[in-house]
Symmetry: C2
Subunit: 515 residues, 2 copies
C-alpha cells in the first residue's frame, strides 16, 4: 500500500495504529489463504483417508479466523482510526482499508462463534448426505437436513435486524448492498426481454454442435486450454491449473491464484470454456494492486462483479467470432482429424448453440439466466415460508416446465443438481450469476466505448487492450469500492440490464435470426 | 484411544479433564498437520509467486502452535492429570498420552516464543542464501549466516541447563534421551568395524552398475515404483506420491501420509530406492494405532527409529537378493530392451555397488555411515568452539580425504551439500541417519528370530509377515515408548551395533569377498 504522509496531530501514533491494524488483518488474511489451500488440496490431491482430519483442520482454522476477526481490540483500533478515515480522501487506499475492514469486522461480530461452528458442522453433514442423495436420486434423504438449513438461514438473517426482506442479509454476504426488492425488479425486467428472445431463437433450427462431441484426447485439450489462457493474460508464475470434479478458482495470496478444470474426451466445450471461465476469475484477483496483499482490500468487490469477469472472458470474448478467427486455425492444427471438415462458421455457431436444457452449468448464454431466476425465486419462497421443503422438488419441476419448457425426469438433474443449498445458506447463493452476466456486458460496452479497437485486437490474438482497461477500472481496486461504486466509476452508470440486452440481441440476431 | 474405566475418587472429573487435554492436543496436532501441508505444497505444486505469502502463513501457524503448546492452562491440566498417570499402568495409552504430552509441553515451554520466531526468520533467510550459495559454490556467502546459526544453536542449548555436552539438548529434539557421550562411543565402535570392511570390499573390483544408467523412461519407472510400494504395504487410500526436488515423507493426519520421489531417466536406482525409502517412513506412520490420531502419540518415536524403517525397507529388504528374485523378472518385463541381457546376479550386485563417494544421499550402504560421522564430529567441534565456521570447508575436505579417500573438488559437493545446517540448528541434525542404520538391522534380526520364514516370503513377494511384525512391535506404538524402550521391548536388548555389523559382514562378504 502506498505510504501517505499522515498530518494529523498524533501523526506518529496514528501510523503505529495503522500498522497494528494491518498486522492483525494480515494474520486473518493468511489464515484465510491457508483454509483455501486446505480446500484446494481436498478437491485435487487428497487421498480419501485424509477427509476426517481435513474437516477438523478447516474447522480449527475457521474458528481462529472468526476469533481474530471479531477480536474487540480490532474493533477498538478501528474506532481509533476513525478520525484518520474521515480526514483522508474517500479514494485513498488507507481510507478504503479502514472502511472495508470495519465493514468486515462489524459483519463478523454480529454472528456468534457458536452459531458459526454449529452451522459449519451442519453443512458438512448436509454436504456429505447430498453426495449420497444425488447419485441415488433420493431427495427425501437430504430433505430433513435442508429443513434445518432453512432454519439456520433464517437465524442467520436475524443476526442482522432491520432488513427489508429476510433474504437481504444473506444476499449481503456475497453481493453487499443489494436488496431483494431491487433484484426482483431487475430480474423481472430481464426476464421480459429474455423470454421473447429465447423463443425467437429456439423457433429456429438449433445449431449443429456435433463437431464438439468428436473424440478429443484430453492431453491436447489440456495444453490448448493452457495456451489460450496464457495468451489472455493469466499469469502462471502466480498460478496453476489442476483437474477437479467441479472447476473453481481459489486464492492463497495475490501471488498464488489457482484454477481447476475438468475435461471430457467427447465434449470439447466443457473443458475449454470452464478453463477460460476460471481464468477470468483468476485474472481479476491477479490484477489487484500488489500493495493490497494481506488486507481485506485484496479480493473481489462482490460475487456479481467476480462473475462478470468469468463470464466476460468465457462468453463475450471466448464465444465471439473475433476470438475464434484467431484461435480456430490453431485449434484445427491441434485437432486436424476432428476439425478439418468443420468451417469457422459452423464451429462458431456450435459453441453458441441455444437449447433449453436441465443443467444450469451446461446452459447456453441465452437460457442460463432463466435457470438462475428459478433458483432465486425458490430461495425467496422458502425463506418467506410460502414453499415447504417437501414441496421443493415439484416446485422445481413446475418452474422448469413453465420457464424452459423442459421437465427434469428425476431430482438428480432437478433440485439436487447444484451444491449451493447443501453447503451454505438458502438465500444469497445464486443472484451473483445473473448479476455477473448483466455486468459483463455493461463493463465490456464501457471498454469498447473507450477502446473501439478491442475487437480488432482480439481478432489478432491481442488481449492486453481489454485486460488493461479491466485492470485499470476494476481489477486493481480489489474490494476498495463496492460493486455499485465500481460500476458507476467504470461505466458512468449504475447497474443496468440495457447493455446486456443489446449484446444478446445483437449477437443472437446475427447468429440465428438473419439467415 | 481405547476407553478405560477410571476408578479414581473423582472419576468423572478426571475423565472430563482427560477429554479437555485431548481436545487441546488435537488442535495443536491439526495445526501441525496444516503446516506440513503448507510445506508439501511449497515443494510440489506452488507457483513461485506464492513464496512470500507461504512464508508468512507458516510463521503464523508456527506461532499459534507454540502458543497453544505452551499455554499455562495446558500445563495445569497435565498437573491435575498427574495422579491418574501414576495410577494407570505405564503401558496404558492414557498414561502414555499424559507422559508424552507433558514432555512435549515442558520442552516447548523452555524455549521463548520470541526466540523461536527470531530463529525461524534467521533460518528462512539462511536457507534462501544457501540456495544461491550452493550453485555458485560460494561458502563465504553463507558463512556469516552459519556463524549466527551456531550462536543460535548454543543459545537453544542454554534453554536446557544441566546438560553433559552442549549438543545433548539439540540431539534430544530428534532423538530424545540420547547423549553425545553415548553416541561418540557407539560411532567409534562402529567405525572400527566399518573401516576394515570398507577397505576389504573396495580393494576388490567395484561392481559393474552400468545396467542402471541406461535410458529408463520416467513414466515406467514411476509406475513400477508405485507397484513395488503397494505390494510392500503402503496404503494409497491414506497416502499418495508426488515428485519433488528432494524426496521426503510428510504426514497431515494418520489418514493422509504422503511421500515424494524424484526420477532420473539415466539412473534407475535413484527413483526406485528413494520411493522405497520414503514408503518405509510412511508405513511406520500409517501403522500407528488409529486411536492415537489427534494426540502426540501419533508420530514416530525418534528420528533414529524413523530412519530405521526407511533404511530397513530400502536396504535390508529392497537391496536383498530375495527381494529381487521376486521383482527382477517384473522389472525386466517393464524394461525388456534395457535389461534383457542383464542377469539377476549382475543386477543385484549393481544395486549394491560399494564405492567411496562425495555425496551422502548417493552413498552405498557400507560407506554411508562414514559420511554421517564426519558431519556429526564437525557439528560437535563447531559447538565446542574447537572449529571456526571459516575453517569448516577445509576441515570437511580433510575428513573426506582421511575417512573416504576422496576430496570434494568444490564446496558445492562439500560443506554446502546438505541442507540441514542451513535450515536448523548445528547439532542434532545427522546422528539419526546412522542410528537408523544400526536399528534397522537390530529390528530385522529380531523379526527374523521370530519369523525365520520372512526371507522366503519376500522371495514370493509377500511382505505382510515382516510388516506385521514391525507393526506389532514398533509401528502401532507411535510415540508411546521412547526409542530405548521400544528397542528393548522389540529386540530384548538395548541399542547395539552387533546385528548391523553381522548384517553388513554377511551381505558384503557374500557379494564381494567370496568370489
Amino acid at each position: 500500500m502506498e505510504l501517505i504522509a499522515i498530518r494529523s496531530k498524533e501523526g506518529l501514533n496514528i501510523e503505529t495504529k495503522l500498522n497494528e491494524l494491518k498486522e492483525k488483518l494480515s494474520e486473518v488474511y493468511d489464515l484465510e489463504g491457508v483454509i483455501a489451500l486446505l480446500d484446494w488440496d481436498q478437491s485435487t490431491y487428497m487421498p480419501t483417508g485424509g477427509g476426517a482430519a481435513r474437516g477438523r483442520q478447516i474447522a480449527v482454522l475457521e474458528k481462529l479466523v472468526h476469533e481474530k476477526m471479531t477480536d474487540p481490540t480490532l474493533g477498538k483500533l478501528l474506532d481509533e482510526l476513525s478520525p484518520l478515515e474521515s480526514e483522508l480522501p474517500y479514494d485513498s487506499d488507507e481510507a478504503g482499508l479502514i472502511r472495508v475492514a470495519r465493514r468486515k469486522f462489524e459483519k463478523a461480530s454480529k454472528v456468534p462463534a457458536a452459531f458459526i461452528a454449529e452451522f459449519a458442522n451442519h453443512t458438512a453433514e448436509t454436504f456429505h448426505v447430498w453426495t449420497e442423495a444425488r447419485p441415488a436420486d433420493d431427495f427425501s434423504k437430504v430433505a430433513p437436513y435442508l429443513e434445518k438449513t432453512l432454519e439456520y438461514s433464517r437465524q442467520m438473517a436475524e443476526f442482522f435486524p432491520g432488513y427489508e426482506h429476510i433474504a437481504d442479509p444473506l444476499i449481503d454476504f456475497s453481493d453487499p448492498g443489494l436488496r431483494t426488492s431491487e433484484l426482483k425488479t431487475l430480474f423481472t425486467d430481464l426476464r421480459e426481454e429474455l423470454v421473447p428472445l429465447v423463443k425467437a431463437v429456439t423457433d429456429r433450427e438449433p445449431a449443429d454442435d456435433t463437431c464438439l462431441t468428436r473424440s478429443y484426447p484430453q492431453e491436447k485439450q489440456w495444453s490448448f486450454g493452457l495456451d489460450v489462457i496464457k495468451q489472455l493474460g493469466y499469469d502462471f508464475e502466480r498460478g496453476r491449473q489442476d483437474k477437479t470434479h467441479h472447476p473453481f478458482m481459489t486464492k492463497f495470496s495475490l501471488g498464488d491464484v489457482r484454477i481447476t478444470t475438468r475435461l471430457k474426451e467427447r465434449d470439447l466445450g466443457e473443458g475449454l470454456f470452464s478453463t477460460i471461465h476460471e481464468a477470468g476469475h483468476a485474472m481479476y484477483e491477479q490484477g489487484i494492486t500488489e500493495g493490497y496483499e494481506g488486507t481485506p482490500l485484496a479480493e473481489g468487490a462482490s460475487s456479481g462483479v467476480h462473475e462478470s469477469q468469468s463470464r466476460l472472458w468465457e462468453n463475450i470474448v471466448g464465444r465471439s467470432r473475433a476470438f475464434w478467427e484467431y484461435f480456430y486455425p490453431r485449434l484445427q492444427r491441434t485437432f486436424p482429424d476432428q476439425l478439418k471438415d468443420v468451417s469457422l462458421d459452423t464451429f462458431h455457431r456450435a459453441v453458441n448453440k441455444v437449447q433449453p436444457s436441465l443443467i444450469r452449468t451446461e446452459a447456453d448464454e441465452l437460457t442460463y439466466n432463466l435457470h438462475v431466476m428459478i433458483r432465486f425465486d425458490l430461495e425467496l419462497a422458502l425463506l418467506e415460508g410460502k414453499l415447504a421443503v417437501e414441496d421443493l422438488p415439484e416446485a422445481w419441476r413446475e418452474r422448469y416446465r413453465q420457464d424452459l419448457g423442459v421437465v427434469p425426469p428425476d431430482d438428480r438433474d432437478g433440485v439436487l443438481q447444484d451444491v449451493h443449498w447443501y453447503i451454505g445458506t438458502i438465500g444469497g447463493a445464486f443472484q451473483g450469476y445473473t448479476l455477473g452476466n448483466i455486468l459483463s456486458a455493461q463493463f465490456y460496452e464501457a471498454a469498447l466505448a473507450a477502446h473501439p479497437e478491442i475487437p480488432d485486437q482480439i481478432r489478432r490474438g491481442e488481449f492486453n487492450g481489454l485486460r488493461g482497461w479491466l485492470t485499470e477500472h476494476l481489477y486493481r481496486h480489489g474490494a476498495k469500492y463496492t460493486a455499485d461504486e465500481l460500476t458507476r466509476r467504470a461505466t458512468g452508470s449504475p447497474l443496468s440490464i440495457d447493455p446486456y440486452i443489446r449484446y444478446l440481441k445483437h449477437k443472437f440476431t446475427q447468429l440465428y435470426l438473419e439467415e
